[in-house]
């Protein structure tokens, strides 16, 4: 399926949306199963993405409520299937089961709790579990940066240990691959650009770097610790006298803690109007979640990136790199 492989890396949120549309035209339209669809922000975004030809959707949720909300906001849901289910647990189960049976490519969180949804995804009977770490990847389109920057993990792992960080990194590589990025340049975050005895985090980063040196992952370059500015600006990296394959040119920025990723990404979203496409990675299917406060382009690029990732998993044959 050479047609799926992006020949040029995708470099913007609009590029993600356009690629998902092209994927639907040239390959097949991906199906999104929504758990708890009585959430107008989500139905609205899906209806628009559906009208754009990006995806199809099956809405598991309270049919009356969904119809009522759609009518009120004048959203056309006639092109989407609705599976009536008033119980949140059953709606979640239904959506995940649809994906597990191969009839949906992406599971999306609606009006259900994130933890219940992820628990369902990881349930043994569905065989969707690949590794123990699910992580959230926020692919940011930052005005002023020459390419996309995936920041991870700002949503799932509270304080990842070394093994979990490796899982987070491998999950981010999958997303980068789905975006046609090769080699993937990964920066490990720091408040410093070198290892110092007085900075515990930098010592830990050094240990992680050693582990990668031994693993020699294909087409992946890792460098750290790197401060945010040194990771994303050639000029600043040069001013600081930093060399290395990633400095100034990172595709992925792996944060030390959930707070770091979340806070820095929100700084960029609020003050720079960075558009982010978010997806949960680590299971055999992508899990999509958007927030009510997200902008429309943000929501559309989020569901689009989930479709691209699902197609990449199809290519790999089951979601394992």
């Amino acid at each position: 399926m050479a047609v799926l492989q992006a020949t040029e890396p995708i470099t913007s949120a609009n590029g993600i949306i356009a690629a998902a549309k092209k994927l639907a035209e040239n390959d097949r339209v991906r199906m999104i199963a929504v758990a708890g669809a009585q959430d107008i922000a989500i139905v609205g975004a899906l209806a628009e993405a559906n009208a754009d030809g990006i995806l199809k959707a099956t809405l598991f949720g309270d049919r009356d409520k969904i119809n009522e909300l759609a009518e009120k906001d004048k959203i056309d849901i006639s092109k989407m299937d609705v599976v009536h289910e008033t119980d949140a647990g059953k709606a979640t189960y239904g959506a995940v089961k649809m994906a597990a049976e191969g009839n949906a490519d992406v599971v999306m969180k609606g009006f259900v709790s994130t933890s219940a949804l992820l628990k369902a995804v990881l349930t043994k009977e569905f065989k969707l579990r690949v590794k123990n770490t699910l992580s959230h990847c926020a692919v940011l389109d930052i005005p002023g940066y020459h390419k996309l920057l995936s920041m991870t993990d700002g949503g799932m792992m509270v304080k990842p240990d070394r093994a979990q960080k490796i899982d987070i990194l491998e999950n981010a590589v999958l997303v980068a691959r789905a975006l046609g990025i090769k080699p993937v340049k990964i920066a490990l975050s720091g408040a410093v650009d070198k290892i110092y005895d007085s900075v515990a985090g930098s010592l830990e980063c050094g240990e992680l770097m050693k582990e990668f040196a031994e693993r020699k992952p294909m087409d992946v370059e890792v460098q750290g610790p790197l401060t945010f500015d040194a990771a994303t600006s050639k000029t600043i990296a040069t001013r600081k006298g930093l060399t290395g394959p990633v400095a100034g040119n990172a595709d992925v920025y792996i944060s030390d803690t959930i707070e770091e990723c979340n806070i820095v990404a929100k700084t960029l979203i609020n003050f720079v109007d960075a558009v982010f496409s978010g997806v949960i990675v680590g299971a055999r299917i992508p899990v999509s979640l958007v927030s009510r406060t997200d902008t429309m382009i943000n929501k559309k690029s989020s569901v689009s990136i989930a479709c691209l990732l699902a197609a990449y998993y199809d290519q790999l044959g089951g979601g394992e790199a």
Binding site: I142, P143, G144, Y145, G154, G155, V158, K159, S189, G190, A191, V192, D193, K194, Y196, S198, V199, A200, G201, P225, T227, F228, D229, A230, T232, S233, I236, R239, K240, S255, D256, T257, I258, E259, E260, C261, N262, I263, V264, K266, T267, L268, I269, N270, F271, V272, A274, R292, T293
Partner: protein
């Protein structure tokens, strides 16, 4: 209350009235960005500088700056240069001069921040003991926010525990007081506003906020955990059902949980959001103005002004 850098520079100048001009030691100013800022500060009558670095290189930069600002006929700019081959040598010589009481404040230019911080705590030549509370504070100004933002600590205390976070809060509040903000509002930042036993950061921040409620942290209002968007926008707080926060939407002091987070926030603000900035290391025997590789000469001048204001207040 100072709400922007123009006011800050004015305030620094008026604080000097009737006092001698502070003696500034500059560590390794080997680029035109720093030299230009120093020139302007001298021109403003804010500082009397001594530059520590490679004499030849610095003199060349000084000559260029002179010809840029005054035309080529004036060459004697009267700046002392103390020859130092490396940034470390520059820092050591400058710190030694501070210890002799010959400098009133420092500007850390082109020395990696951590190398300087490690020397600052050196028990021979340092300016702070292990028990001293020294923190880095970055001041930011952006047209999307209605007042100055303070972010701390992005450079000195790597992974602060609760006790260190209280120190970070106290130093930031003290600086806010110097800027005329009597009761600054501090947000302890987290990924979300919820308090969860499984999320240690949220528990610690909630406890600190409780301490502040009971008057155990004084001179400021503190709330946390707060997400970044709640800290800057009261509407977001409302939409998440968070009511009664005295800080949400009106934060002066932003305290992220770790040094790399604080560093990432202010670098993102300067590098991508184009925020004006000033940095200072606060709590050592003298103030240390700081600038990093992202900063413009305006930001360096802001940092010097902030240092002068702290040194003279």
């Amino acid at each position: 209350m100072i709400t922007n850098f123009t006011e800050l520079r004015k305030q620094a100048k008026s604080a000097l009235a009737g006092k001698s001009i502070p003696r500034l030691g500059v560590i390794f100013p080997t680029d035109s960005t720093h030299i230009e800022a120093i020139f302007e500060a001298v021109d403003d009558g804010l500082i009397k500088p001594t530059l520590f670095g490679p004499t030849l290189e610095i003199n060349k930069l000084l000559d260029e700056a002179v010809s840029d600002s005054f035309g080529s006929d004036q060459v004697n700019v009267g700046m002392d240069v103390i020859d130092c081959a490396t940034a470390e040598e520059a820092a050591r010589k400058a710190l030694a001069m501070v210890q002799k009481g010959e400098l009133d404040l420092l500007l850390k230019a082109n020395q990696p921040m951590r190398e300087f911080v490690d020397l600052l705590f050196d028990n021979q030549i340092g300016l702070a003991g292990k028990k001293d509370v020294v923190t880095h504070i970055e001041l930011l100004q952006h047209n999307r926010y209605h007042k100055l933002m303070m972010v701390s600590d992005g450079a000195v205390i790597a992974e602060p525990d609760a006790a260190r976070k209280i120190s970070i809060l106290n130093n930031a509040a003290a600086l806010a007081h110097t800027l005329g903000n009597e009761m600054p509002k501090a947000a302890l930042l987290a990924a979300a506003e919820g308090i969860y036993p499984a999320v240690p950061v949220s528990m610690e921040e909630a406890a600190l906020a409780k301490m502040a409620d009971r008057g155990l942290i004084k001179g400021m209002l503190v709330d946390g955990p707060l997400s970044f968007d709640i800290a800057i926008n009261a509407e977001v707080a409302k939409s998440k059902g968070l009511t009664g926060s005295p800080v949400a939407g009106d934060t002066d002091i932003f305290i992220p949980p770790t040094m790399s987070t604080a560093n990432g926030v202010y670098k993102a603000m300067v590098q991508y959001a184009g925020a004006e900035a000033a940095g200072i290391i606060y709590g050592a025997s003298i103030p240390i103005a700081t600038a990093s590789a992202v900063d413009s000469s305006t930001n360096v001048l802001n940092s010097i002004s902030l240092g002068v204001l702290v040194a003279t207040t």
